[in-house]
Symmetry: C2
C-alpha cells in the first residue's frame, strides 16, 4: 500500500513534476491543484522514498562543526569528534558532509574567529560546543537569520535557544555523585568539593553540578555530611598544592571534583601519601582512567561524549534528509564508571 509520486499525479490528473513542486513548496502551482494534490497526499499518507530521493538529487548537505581543538591540552574533546566522524561515515551516502573548525578552549577570540570562518562556508547546519556563552549567542543570531539549524552539544548556556541540545543534565549528575559518596560514607562525615576552574571556562555547567551535589545532601534528613568548598583558578601544580594544603585534612572522607580535572587532585594526594579518601570526578580522559584503574579514583561520571557527537549528526541528518524535527533537549544517561566496568565504555 505504498503510494508514489506517479500515483498521486495520476489521481490528480497532473504530471509528476507538479506533484514534486507542491511537495517541496516551490510555488508556481495554482491553489486549486495544490489543494487537490495535498488532499491525496494526506489521504494516502504519502511518504517519500528517501532512497530514490537521495539518488536523484545530488544535493550535498554541509554540516559545520565548531568544536574545541582536540589537540590543545584537554584530551576530552577528541571523543565527541570521534563520534561525529563515526556517524558521518554512516550517513555519507545521503550526501552529508562536514567542515570542521576548531577553536582554542581558552580563547573567546578564537571561538569568534572560527565561527566566522565557518559561516563563510555557508553550512546547512551547525554543531558546536557553546563554551563561551556570548560568542555562541552571536553565532546563534546569525544562524537564526539565515535559518541555519544549530545543535549544541556538551553544555547548555542557560538563556540561549539553539534548535537542539544534546548532553547531560548537569544538576542531576551532581546528585548522582553525591549519592555515591553518601553510599560509601555512611551516616556522617566530611566532604570537599574542589572546583579547579577559572572564569574563562563555561563555569555555569560545572556550577550546576555542584548545585546538584549540594542539593542531594540538603535533602537527607538522617545523615550529617559537612560540605566544604574550594575553588582553584590556577592550574599549575604549585597553586593547587598550596590551596589543597589548607583543605585536605585527616577527617575528610570524600572529595568531589565537578569537572575532568580530578587527576590533578589525585596527583597531589599521591605526592603527599594521602590515602583513603573517596574520590569522584568526571570524564574518561586518560589520566583519570589510569587513576580509576589504580584504585585511586572511586568513580568517574561519564557524559557519553562520543554519543553526543553521533546523536548530533543523526538528528541533523534526519532533519535535512527526512525533514524530521530536531529534538529540543536530548539528555544522555549519567553513566557511573568504576574500575570494574571501565573496559566496556
Amino acid at each position: 500500500v505504498k503510494i508514489r509520486i506517479k500515483d498521486i499525479a495520476q489521481r490528480a490528473n497532473v504530471s509528476s513534476g507538479t506533484v514534486d513542486r507542491v511537495l517541496h513548496n516551490r510555488g508556481e502551482v495554482s491553489e486549486d491543484t495544490r489543494f487537490k494534490i495535498m488532499s491525496i497526499v494526506n489521504e494516502f499518507n504519502y511518504q517519500p522514498d528517501i532512497v530514490a530521493r537521495t539518488l536523484a538529487s545530488k544535493r550535498i548537505f554541509k554540516i559545520g562543526i565548531l568544536m574545541p581543538d582536540p589537540n590543545s591540552g584537554i584530551s576530552y574533546w577528541q571523543a565527541p569528534i570521534n563520534g561525529i566522524n563515526l556517524a558521518l561515515s554512516e550517513v555519507s551516502h545521503y550526501g552529508i558532509e562536514a567542515c570542521n573548525f576548531y577553536f582554542d578552549f581558552f580563547s573567546k577570540q578564537s571561538y569568534k574567529d572560527s565561527a566566522l570562518k565557518l559561516l563563510a562556508q555557508s553550512p546547512d547546519a551547525i554543531i558546536t560546543a557553546p563554551i563561551f556563552a556570548d560568542q555562541a549567542s552571536t553565532l546563534l543570531s546569525h544562524c537564526k537569520e539565515k535559518s541555519i539549524p544549530v545543535v549544541f552539544i556538551d553544555s547548555m548556556s542557560n538563556n540561549l535557544e539553539p534548535n537542539g541540545f544534546i548532553g547531560q543534565n548537569a544538576f542531576q549528575s551532581g546528585r548522582v555523585a553525591a549519592s555515591l559518596l553518601n553510599f560509601g560514607i555512611k551516616e556522617n562525615g566530611n566532604v570537599l568539593v574542589i572546583s579547579i576552574t577559572n572564569e574563562k571556562d563555561n563555569t555555569s555547567h560545572f556550577q550546576n553540578r555542584v548545585d546538584g551535589f549540594k542539593s542531594y545532601f540538603a535533602e537527607k534528613k538522617h545523615t550529617y555530611i559537612n560540605i566544604d568548598y574550594i575553588q582553584i583558578s590556577e592550574f599549575d601544580e604549585l597553586s593547587i598544592a598550596n590551596a589543597l594544603d589548607k583543605k585536605i585534612k585527616p577527617e575528610l572522607n570524600g572529595i568531589f571534583i565537578p569537572n575532568s580535572r580530578a587527576f590533578k587532585v589525585v596527583n597531589y594526594l599521591t605526592k603527599n601519601n594521602i590515602e583513603g579518601k573517596k574520590i569522584i570526578g568526571y570524564d574518561l580522559i586518560d589520566k583519570n582512567v589510569s587513576y580509576l584503574r589504580a584504585g585511586k579514583i572511586d568513580f568517574l561520571i561519564s557524559q557519553r561524549p562520543e554519543e553526543q557527537g553521533i546523536n548530533a549528526i543523526h538528528c541533523l541528518t534526519k532533519k535535512m534528509v527526512m525533514g524530521r524535527d530536531i529534538e529540543k533537549i536530548h539528555f544522555l544517561p549519567i553513566d557511573i564508571i568504576t574500575k570494574e566496568n571501565i573496559d566496556f565504555y
Copy 2:
C-alpha cells in the same frame, strides 16, 4: 574520485551487465574478462553505491526474530523487542523486514516449535535469545547448513558459536556488583547471594554473574567479607519466605540477586520490616525500578536490552545490505543504575 560500474565496464571494454555479474559472483563470465574486471575493481577500490543498489533491487531481506514472549510474565523481554522494532523502522527502506516468533520462557518445547515455524518462513538471518542451550544448538546447526547468519542476544551458551553475540559480559557484571557492595560495606561484613532460579532457566548466565561476584572478593586482601549463598527454585511467595527466613539475619550487610528477581526479595524484606541491607540486582523492570526509586534497592545493573535489539538489527543490516562482516562478540556496557540516574536510562 568515485568509480561506477559504468566506468569499470568502459575500461574493461565490456558492458555493465558483465561487470555486475562478476561483482555478484553469478558466473557465466569467462575467466579472462573476470580477471580484467576484478583488477580494475581493486585498482580503483570500487565501492558500490548502496543507495542506487537498494533502489534498483527490490530484494527484501527477512530477519527472523525468535524471542521470549514479552507478554508472558517476565516483562524484561519487551525491551529488546522495542529496540528491534525501533531499529527496523530506521532501516526498513533498505528492504529489511522482520517476522517475529515468540516462545514461552519456561518451555523448551515452545522454543523448538517456534524455531521450526520460523525456519519454515526461510528467513535471510535470525536473531534469538538462546535461553535453552540444546534447542538453540539445533537451530544453529540448521542455519549453518543453509548458511543463514544467526545473532544471539542477551546471553551466550558457552559452547555454541553463533555468527555474532550481543550482550553483556556476565562475569564482569558480577564483579561490578561486588565492588559496589564493597564500597558501601567497608572493611568487613556479610553478604548473601540469592539466586531465585530453577533448572529451566539459562542458569549458566546467572552463574557467571555469581562467579564474577565471588571472584572480586576473593582477590581483596584487606577486607573480610563473608559470602553466603542460597538458591531458591520455587518462585511463589511462601517458598521464598521459607528459604529467606533461615538466611536473613541482623548481621547481614548486603544482598546480591544475580537476576531480575530482586523485587521478590524486597517484597519479603518489606513484609518483615527488615531495613538497612544494601541491595543490588539486575534489570530495569518496573517492579525493580519502583523499589529503586523508593530507596529499597541501592543499585540495579542494566544490560541495555533495547540497545541489544538495536545493534542486532544494525549489524545484520550491514551484513546483508553492505556485505560487512558480523562482529563475533559485542559486549555492551555494564550500566550502574541508582535512584538518581534512573530517569535518563
